[in-house]
């Protein structure tokens, strides 16, 4: 198993957001995580990436058998975990290529590979740019500075293409994209699907999944995966919305909690 999440609980500022997540994703698979706003989707992405504000209180995350929770964010990245951000930050004055070369060489060094020189890097970058139809002018510009929403998302996929992670987590990559940009981003992701790579695609809407067809779909409500299924589950959610499933889950939670309350 490439990614194994076991009974994961996580809090932000003392508030529990993830309340026991179990998930297993094999190499070559694409899993979609769907859910209403506030269900914990983005928290899951950030916990995987290791953002400090998110405190894991219980559970385990294994990437290729290694304990991710023991690692700093940069170690996780070097071990092959990549997150495409929902809101990629701007880094003024630092060119996109400079940034990416530093990132790639950090990863390569970790893997025991030789660091790339400027020429090797440039030819790699040229090749990867085609995947996401990135304009060459975005290379020399500072990281994400003045990029349009679509350009930022494309840049994330471009970073992924260059860094070649084993696990790619896409955090609401479709948000704010028009249909053309969505297609370009999806094409990029599809081109990167491989037998050695797993994807976790986090999205609120089904439409992205028309382009990136998932092997499995999981529905997250109140910090738990409440339903899993094939790609048809996404279509069902698209048709019926999230309310019914939330009601079902909360209703069940209330009734199962009731005896305990009485007992106490």
């Amino acid at each position: 198993m490439m990614l194994e999440i076991k009974n994961l609980h996580a809090s932000v500022e003392g508030k529990e957001i993830l309340r026991g997540i179990d998930l297993a994703v094999d190499a070559s698979e694409v899993h979609a995580i769907m859910g209403p706003n506030g269900s914990g989707k983005s928290t899951l992405a950030r916990v995987l990436a290791g953002q400090e504000a998110y405190e894991v209180t219980e559970g385990q995350i294994l990437l290729n058998g290694k304990d991710l929770l023991d690692m700093d964010p940069e170690e996780r990245a070097r071990e092959g975990a990549f997150m495409a951000f929902q809101y990629p930050v701007e880094i003024p004055g630092v060119s996109n290529t400079y940034f990416l070369k530093a990132a790639l060489n950090a990863v390569r060094k970790h893997r025991g590979q030789k660091e790339m020189d400027a020429l090797e890097f440039l030819s790699l970058v040229r090749q990867k740019m085609k995947l996401v139809q990135m304009d060459e002018s975005l290379l020399g510009r500072p990281v994400n500075e003045g990029f349009s929403g679509g350009e930022k998302k494309r840049n994330e996929i471009f970073h992924m293409a260059v860094l070649e992670p084993t696990l790619a987590v896409l955090d609401e990559t479709d948000s704010g994209l028009d249909i053309d940009a969505l297609r370009i981003v999806a094409d990029g992701v599809n081109a990167l699907r491989s037998k050695d790579r797993a994807f976790v695609v986090i999205t609120h809407y089904q439409r992205l999944l028309n382009y990136i067809v998932p092997d499995k779909v999981h529905v997250l409500v109140d910090g738990r995966i409440v339903r899993s299924g094939g790609k048809e589950l996404a279509l069902e959610l698209e048709a019926k919305g999230y309310t019914w499933i939330e009601q079902e889950v909360r209703g069940a939670a209330v009734s199962s909690a009731a005896p305990a309350t009485v007992g106490a």
């Binding site: 990436a49 964010p73 530093a102 950090a106 990863v107």
Partner: protein, 480 residues
Amino acid sequence: MQTATDTIEDPRQDYKFGFITDVEQDVIPLGLSEDVVRIISAKKEEPEWLLEWRLKAYRLWLTMKEPTWANIHYPPIDYQAIAYYAAPKERTGPKSLDEVDPEILATYAKLGIPLREQEMLAGVAVDAVFDSVSVATTFKGKLAEMGIIFSSFSEAVKNHPDLVRQYLGSVVPYSDNFFATLNSAVFSDGSFVYIPKGVRCPMELSTYFRINAKNSGQFERTLIVADEGAYVSYLEGCTAPMRDENQLHAAVVELVALDRAQIKYSTVQNWYPGDANGKGGIYNFVTKRGKCEGVASKISWTQVETGSAITWKYPSVILKGDDSIGEFYSVALTKGYQQADTGTKMIHIGKNTRSTIVSKGISAGHGQNTYRGAVRILKGADNARNFSQCDSMLIGEECGAHTFPYIDVQNPLARMEHEASTSKIGEDQIFYCNQRGISTEDAVSMIVNGFCKEVFRELPMEFAVEAQKLLAVNLEGSVG
């Protein structure tokens, strides 16, 4: 106590204080008096006019008060506890790198400074094995062929007294301010540069070579004159920490640019900033000013200030000639308990004069960083233009950034632009870098260097590389 010293009567003056220590122990007792000024001048075998100039400065200084308007705080300086003439460092310095503090060596290694340069920076005694002396000499020979004068201030006083006399104090008069006046009275040495008419100095001139040939003290004085149509780029400072404790450093730099002349002056300052608790460190009170005397002349200051416990420094340009240009590009980093109150003054006198100010302040730890700048457009300065940009970056919760821009416009045709920003180095920026595999340390240095890019690109290539590494080394451990 000075025991085994020769006492020498000064031939010109009647000293109450009449001794000079022997050459091996070249120090005079602590404290400042008229006699001390005379001793310094005598030791340097200066002409009468220069001694008089020093004495006028000293007498005026006695009536002056230390300025208190800057946003800096420090215990009172005891001016009688300072040695105003100290032995050259070569004599007291370590004999080899084995005797140098390993922490300093580790810093050099991080900066990628070659071993031989490390020896120079650490003040290791320069001996015959060391070919830097001959390098410097060859270099001087080549410059001399072009008529360029590049020497220590003392040598210039001896060899080119007329030039020195003509320009000394012409930009920063001895009466200028408390610290400049003190410097005028007691300055020990410094650099002198003269570029003749129409000559473009073919290399970057650096204090580096000269200082290693002869170590200058804490009150140095630099005078650079670019004659009509001349060009010079001058580099000051070194990237080495100096381990002196609470030392007062009060330097003066004067630049004069005649018609169509250009002077580019770059500084990377990394004096000892004091320890983690704010103990020790250099008090850096420096007066730097350039005068665009001639038409279409240009003076450009670029500074990277990372060291010193206190930095008080406002490299300025007097834009007297019509169509002259003044520039100020600055990066100031304060961390630990460092305080910097720095900026510039652009005084527009001539017509069509232009000035650009780009200031980047970075505060980390308990550092306090103040930008203080003045732009004055005088009555006759038709069509004067100024663009100012002051950006501050904060790292952590305990530091501070302050901006005091003063603007005085007396001509209705002037055009002024001022932009300012304050940002916090974002945890989200660092996390983004981490998520791509970049360590926090590298991320901070990358983000800060990006922030400073507009200034770094004004620095000569090798200096820019050193400046970047220096920021990285100085910021280690500032975050996380």
